[in-house]
């Protein structure tokens, strides 16, 4: 049987099989991978969720949100408050819903802001949330920070993996849906989109809230990993900037761009941080500058580029092969 023919006709099926196997493989890592790997993988999956959710909204509509940390932190604090009251998985869902509701509210007020003003607002939102929660903590509890009972690493990893699968699947379908097309046309030209019958405000607010929901849920799962939490830790800009850098690094043209970016970047970060603990940010900066300058579509943008180059080289080789006999005659 012709294998290349089989591959090209069953591309989709093979991809699905590959992805299922990948998830199964990841799910079994705790059995033999050791605690360190499980923890790094959990961190990578967290970043996958944040980067994919961020790219779904900001990458397509062009509204640069610097607020992932606000929704992520809200999830972390949902866990702090509800830890003793409810089962863990229920809190994960509630954390998502809290972030969703908060994003709806914020979106309604601010998504009429254009360009840089929206970015500045979302930047301020993280600071605002951090200060507000800090104030409320002191006012209500008369205490700073929370201690969360640590939970089993394997269980946290599996929950994060489950959430990542749900997030990627949901966003895969959203991108292919009417909402995906609407978001892209808003990114292309918002005025034209509005005049072509798209209720742009509703699309923006709703998709912003959906993307924030996954960030909130991821925050809940991260809380027990942090163990000690205060408003500076929960609303750290690390969680806003890293997913954006990862999405840009991976490339936002396809769904898998931010995923690849998040995984590669997380491991790169660990590697560089372990080797050069004091200089790792410099190394990062250089990598990012190089990617932005030479790979405008991220590292996944390399694939079609290399394919084009490769087929060019092959064509030239073939031509060369044909031309030679002519030269001899």
């Amino acid at each position: 049987m012709d294998i290349t023919g089989f591959i090209s006709t069953h591309k989709k099926l093979l991809l699905v099989v590959f992805l299922v196997l990948l998830v199964v493989f990841l799910a079994t890592v705790p059995l033999y991978g050791g605690i360190y790997n499980v923890r790094v993988l959990t961190a990578a999956l967290t970043m996958v969720i944040l980067a994919v959710s961020w790219a779904m909204f900001s990458g397509t509509t062009g509204y640069m949100s610097l607020a992932p940390a606000a929704f992520f932190g809200l999830g972390i604090y949902t866990m702090c408050v509800l830890e003793k009251q409810l089962p863990f998985l229920v809190i994960v869902v509630i954390g998502g819903l809290v972030a969703f509701a908060f994003a709806l509210l914020v979106g309604l007020v601010t998504l009429r802001l254009k360009g840089i003003y929206f970015a500045i607002f979302t930047f301020g939102l993280v600071v605002f949330m951090s200060e507000l929660i800090n104030y409320l903590e002191v006012a209500i509890r008369q205490a700073h920070g929370w201690h969360i009972t640590p939970l089993d690493n394997t269980m946290l990893f599996h929950t994060m993996l489950g959430l990542a699968v749900v997030t990627v699947l949901a966003i895969y379908f959203i991108r292919r849906s009417r909402y995906g097309l609407a978001m892209m046309s808003i990114g292309g030209n918002e005025e034209a989109a509005e005049h072509m019958g798209i209720h742009t405000t509703r699309v923006k607010v709703f998709t912003f809230a959906i993307s924030s929901m996954f960030m909130g849920a991821a925050g809940v799962i991260t809380a027990p990993i942090l163990i000690y939490i205060n408003s500076n830790i929960a609303f750290s800009f690390y969680y806003s900037f890293m997913p954006i850098l990862m999405a840009v690094f991976g490339g936002m043209g396809q769904l898998y761009g931010p995923i690849v970016g998040a995984v590669v970047f997380t491991y790169l970060e660990r590697l560089v941080r372990n080797q050069f603990p004091n200089y790792f940010m410099i190394g990062f900066g250089i990598i990012l500058v190089v990617v932005i300058m030479f790979l405008p579509n991220g590292i996944t943008g390399l694939v079609p580029m290399l394919q084009g180059k490769l087929s060019g080289v092959i064509a030239r080789l073939r031509k060369g092969g044909e031309a030679e006999p002519h030269a001899n005659t």
Partner: protein, 245 residues
């Protein structure tokens, strides 16, 4: 009853009346032209009809329904679609996907993916761009980008189509093609309101012409009447005649 009409339509930007007490009407199936010097308020009037700006006073009615206070996406769904003076295409999306946006979102009823794709393909055939359906719009020439805008507007199944300077920047062969396209659109039963600077085109396709000057309507009539109207010649055609002489 006219399909689209405006009464005492006025728009202030600060203290300046960009459109001032303008009455207009368009009957079903006609091509109405709107001319006037730069800054006369032509595009502003289009923006008021399509609700890009809220109207300051007066009212606009489509098939008897008041349009005041509606949003652009609602106007489009009701059956009034438009193109833009400065083309506003979705530059990074392929041609077909641009048109698909109109087909998907421009109609009042929810449409299936297959139906939307068929509508979009038909609209592209109508403007003779089928061959480029997979090309990103940013790689198209100006005339073809304008055609994409027309196809996108047609895909929303409009009853009234507002064409804002479709022919600006085109050469004379392209202008003839565009005139033919406008006539073909009218023949499908769509009522057309055009803003145009190209006199040959506006005199050739319009059944009736309206003239704006400083936001006020100063004349209205058949192309012959407008061409011989003294005031119009003085403030508008006169400049051209003078420049040409």
């Amino acid at each position: 009853m006219p399909i689209l009409e405006g009464q005492d339509v006025t728009k202030y930007f600060g203290g300046l009346a960009a459109v001032s007490h303008v009455d207009f009407y368009i009957d079903q199936g006609e091509i109405l032209g709107l001319i006037g010097p730069n800054g006369a308020g032509k595009t502003t009037l289009f923006n008021l009809i399509s609700a890009a700006f809220p109207i300051s006073s007066g009212e606009i009615r489509f098939k008897g329904h008041k349009l005041n206070g509606l949003k652009p996406h609602q106007i489009c769904k009701m059956g009034v679609s438009r193109t833009f003076q400065e083309t506003k295409v979705f530059a990074n999306m392929p041609v077909l996907q641009n048109v698909l946006v109109g087909a998907f979102f421009g109609t009042p009823t929810r449409i299936s993916g297959e139906d939307a794709a068929r509508e979009a393909t038909q609209a592209l055939e109508f403007v003779e761009l089928s061959a480029m359906s997979a090309t990103p719009v940013k790689d198209l020439t100006l005339v073809n980008q304008k055609r994409v805008e027309v196809a996108r507007a047609l895909a929303t199944k409009p009853e009234v189509l507002l064409l804002d300077e479709l022919m600006a920047g085109l050469n004379s062969a392209e202008i003839s093609e565009a005139m033919e396209l406008v006539n073909r659109i009218r023949d499908t039963g769509i009522t057309i309101f055009v803003v145009e600077h190209v006199m040959k085109a506006i005199m050739g396709i319009c059944g009736r012409i309206m003239v704006l000057h400083h936001g006020e309507k100063i004349a209205e009539g058949t192309p012959q009447e407008i061409a011989t109207n003294k005031q119009v010649i003085e403030i508008y055609l006169g400049e051209e005649a003078h420049a040409g002489s």
